[in-house]
């Protein structure tokens, strides 16, 4: 009968321990893998300098997944903060509201630059949005008509570019980075080359706005003949692919590039070298804001939550000389306003 005794006592111990320690005393964060390194840097420093609080637990998993998790409801077994590399959508806000998460604080803590980079030993690239569009789009404008993209070398697109086979490693559609790549580079290039007007002429839709939207979507179609490759993994995968094929040009986050300058050579965009300075002044066009969303109902309940968000947006962390900027974050010029907002605990208004 020993076995039965062991079983019973085990279950009793488990039941006891389950009730003892349900109260959570650490901040729980999840979301964007782009924000993840910044959030871990802050969490680590927070744990070191605020020894009365445990270090926040930070998970990755993607912006959408993080926001969905935050919107699951209020309570200690739901997360407190969702990191996001894109703005929250109305759908998320509605889900949140339906699950009782009424007030959310939107905190924009900086910008992330997106860069094109090639192998360090390879040729220099000075790209423009129209070069990228002409090289990678499914259809391009030629003599006033849309034709299938037949460009095989960068030099065919723009004589100033190297005579090198076109092979671009772009982030997969589930990445927040892809959205920025699409809107700030591809659609911009589409408009510059005149293809957008041609798409607009044939676009379907009830009104001009819907037509323009459909034309944008048509612009974003990338060629499928293997010259534009979607990478669904992390930047490390893009780097590994680029290592294997030295002809490739990859799309990376600025911080990833800054950590791998010995392997990567960055391309200029419209003549501007990407750097935290050129992005913060707005000269370098391909960037996006980074956010985290705080469940307001948890402030004051989860110990250290208010202190963590205050610390995150403080000049010591997110400021232009802080460790986040050293890692590759482009500091938000309006950080002071964000700090005031966080200190006052202002929830976000409706999306415009």
């Amino acid at each position: 009968m020993k076995l039965t005794k062991i079983t019973v006592s085990t279950l009793a111990i488990l039941a006891a321990s389950a009730t003892v320690s349900m109260a959570r005393d650490n901040v729980q964060v999840a979301g964007s893998s782009t924000v993840l390194p910044y959030a871990t840097i802050v969490a680590e420093a927070f744990g070191e300098n605020f020894s009365q609080f445990p270090t926040p637990v930070v998970e990755g998993g993607g912006s959408g997944a993080g926001r969905a998790k935050m919107c699951e409801g209020v309570g200690e077994n739901t997360i407190d903060i969702a990191n996001s590399s894109s703005r929250i959508s109305q759908k998320d806000i509605d889900t949140c509201a339906a699950n009782g998460v009424a007030e959310i604080m939107e905190v924009r803590f900086g910008y992330d630059g997106i860069v094109f980079a090639s192998d360090v030993a390879g040729a220099d690239f000075a790209l423009t949005p129209s070069d990228v569009y002409l090289a990678l789009a499914a259809k391009v404008a030629k003599d006033g008509a849309l034709v299938d993209n037949a460009a095989a070398q960068w030099a065919e697109v723009n004589a100033a570019l190297p005579a090198q086979d076109i092979l671009a490693l772009v982030p997969g559609t589930k990445h927040g980075t892809r959205e920025v790549f699409d809107t700030k580079v591809v659609v911009a290039g589409c408009k510059e080359t005149g293809a957008h007007d041609l798409f607009l002429a044939t676009a379907e839709g009830k009104d001009d706005k819907e037509k323009a939207g459909n034309a944008d979507k048509a612009c974003m179609e990338l060629r499928t003949d293997g010259r534009a490759v979607d990478i669904d993994g992390d930047y490390t995968e893009t780097l590994a692919r680029l290592d294997a094929d030295k002809n490739a040009v990859g799309v990376f986050g600025l911080s990833f590039y800054q950590n791998n300058t010995d392997k990567l050579k960055v391309a200029t965009m419209s003549g501007i070298v990407p750097s935290t300075e050129s992005i913060s002044t707005g000269e370098y066009p391909v960037s996006r804001p980074l956010y985290f969303y705080v469940k307001k109902a948890h402030i004051g309940v989860i110990p250290g939550l208010q202190e963590y968000i205050d610390f995150f947006v403080s000049d010591d962390m997110a400021g232009p000389d802080g460790p986040l900027a050293a890692y590759g974050l482009v500091s938000d010029p309006e950080l002071a306003a964000t700090q005031a907002m966080v200190a006052a605990g202002t929830p976000m208004g409706p999306l415009e």
Partner: protein
């Protein structure tokens, strides 16, 4: 080839010598040789794959076990660390790690001057960049624990940053440093001189096993401490939960259950469960244990429950097989001398089946040890710095990570130093697996009975 198709003329004729192989004989021998060659080729291919895998992992990862470390006396400057001079802990906590970093930087530069190491144009800031980001935090903890250290000079050892460390491991070279925005060739030259002067040396890194994870800016201080604790907690819980349940279920099904449609259905389902992809159990765990049961996310408890679900079918199947291997004569003999059925099972059959049950359990534990998929879904792929408390203090309910998810997390980081750490973590994981498999083999060898 069936015998019917053999041409009678191929068969050995009486007149032929047995020593001279006939056509058929030669064909059969050739088939045998071919078959052997296929077998050897298959083994060579699988061994080569294993070998290549091990060589890559070890060549990438073995360097994770050593670490470039700076050793120098640190003068605890009272003016910086305790500006008011009253040694009040509450006052002193206001000095952040930034202040402690300055103290370390100053002391290192003073040591360079003392040992007459020429810095040749490396700025003070770049010398400060030699010291890992975790050193100020450790120093701060030391001082807050013992304020009397202020004003003294203590011997302190700090990790050198990832790039410097990489230089001594061959990952960073003078050529790459020229292109690297995080390190300069001058800094590497200085590192060489510091090694000559005895300030810097490369030694075995025990912190790799004990330190918690670290952020992307300090790969050198990242360790497996939390992951190893999380893995041990999970494995212990899986044994505690799945062994009694699995063995009880198997005994019931094998020895007591009536043979009917319902038990047949259960049997089929158990075999099917063993083949369910592990990620499904993760989704189940998220829905049932976290969302419905309210158990804390990222905790080793939830991880263990999910892994238990995965391990149960395997344990039940292994237990039933070893129960079945106990010969019926033992059972009839026990019943014949008047034992009840329960006594027969627990006094005779189960002890004899135990080695087989344990072997099966250890092997299924080993497979759940390397399981990553379901753990990603229940939040164990997280950045956890605080060690979980002891198992009796509710540590299993606190956030933790596990070895395989730590590998996954490190492999996705941007600093190349984390690739080395990931391979190092794989080596530790393999060592765990090896130990478990050896235990299983020993159990089988020593206790297994043949009937």
């Amino acid at each position: 080839m069936s015998d019917a198709s053999i041409n009678p003329s191929d068969l050995p004729q009486k007149s032929e010598s047995l020593l001279v192989p006939s056509k058929l004989m030669r064909r059969r021998n050739a088939a045998e040789t071919r078959y052997k060659a296929y077998g050897i080729a298959a083994i060579v291919i699988s061994l080569a794959t294993l070998g290549i895998m091990l060589i890559t992992i070890f060549s990438d990862g073995i360097s994770a076990f050593s670490q470039a470390t700076l050793r120098f006396p640190v003068t605890m400057d009272a003016a910086t660390l305790d500006p008011k001079g009253n040694r009040d802990i509450a006052e002193m906590t206001k000095v952040t790690t930034v202040g402690y970093k300055k103290v370390l930087e100053k002391s290192l530069i003073a040591e360079l001057v003392l040992r007459q190491v020429a810095v040749d144009g490396v700025s003070e800031k770049d010398i400060g960049a030699f010291i890992s980001g975790d050193a100020p935090a450790r120093l701060r903890d030391m001082v807050l624990a013992d304020p009397s250290l202020i004003g003294q000079t203590i011997d302190f050892s700090a990790f050198a940053t990832g790039r410097i460390d990489g230089y001594f491991k061959g990952r960073v070279t003078m050529e790459t440093a020229k292109l690297d925005s995080n390190i300069s060739p001058e800094q590497l030259q200085l590192a060489d001189k510091m090694q000559e002067a005895g300030i810097l040396d490369v030694r075995f890194n025990t912190k790799f096993f004990t330190n918690p994870d670290a952020s992307d800016t300090r790969p050198e201080s990242a360790g497996l401490g939390v992951a190893i604790i999380g893995t041990l907690y999970m494995m212990a819980l899986v044994v505690v939960l799945s062994l009694p349940l699995g063995v009880a279920a198997a005994i019931y099904l094998e020895e007591f259950a009536p043979q009917n449609r319902f038990t047949d259905l259960i049997e089929v389902n158990i075999s099917n469960l063993a083949a369910v992809p592990s990620i499904v159990f993760g989704i189940l765990g998220l829905a049932i244990f976290i969302n419905f049961g309210g158990l804390p996310q990222s905790s080793s408890m939830v991880g263990a429950l999910v892994l238990t679900l995965m391990a149960l079918p395997t344990i039940i199947i292994a237990t039933r097989a070893s129960l079945r291997a106990v010969p019926p004569s033992i059972r009839t003999a026990a019943l014949g001398i008047g034992a009840s059925k329960v006594q027969m099972v627990f006094h005779h059959v189960l002890p004899l089946a135990m080695p087989g049950i344990l072997t099966g359990t250890i092997l299924s534990l080993a497979s759940s040890l390397g399981e990553t998929g379901p753990l990603l879904l229940i939040g164990m792929q997280a950045f956890v710095v605080n060690y979980p408390s002891g198992p009796l203090a509710g540590g299993v309910m606190e956030p933790a990570t596990a070895l395989p998810v730590q590998v996954y997390a490190w492999a996705a980081r941007s600093d190349p130093a984390f690739i080395e750490r990931a391979s190092g973590a794989i080596i530790v994981l393999l060592a765990f697996l090896l130990v478990m498999n050896i235990v299983a083999i020993i159990l089988r060898r020593r206790f297994e009975r043949r009937w």
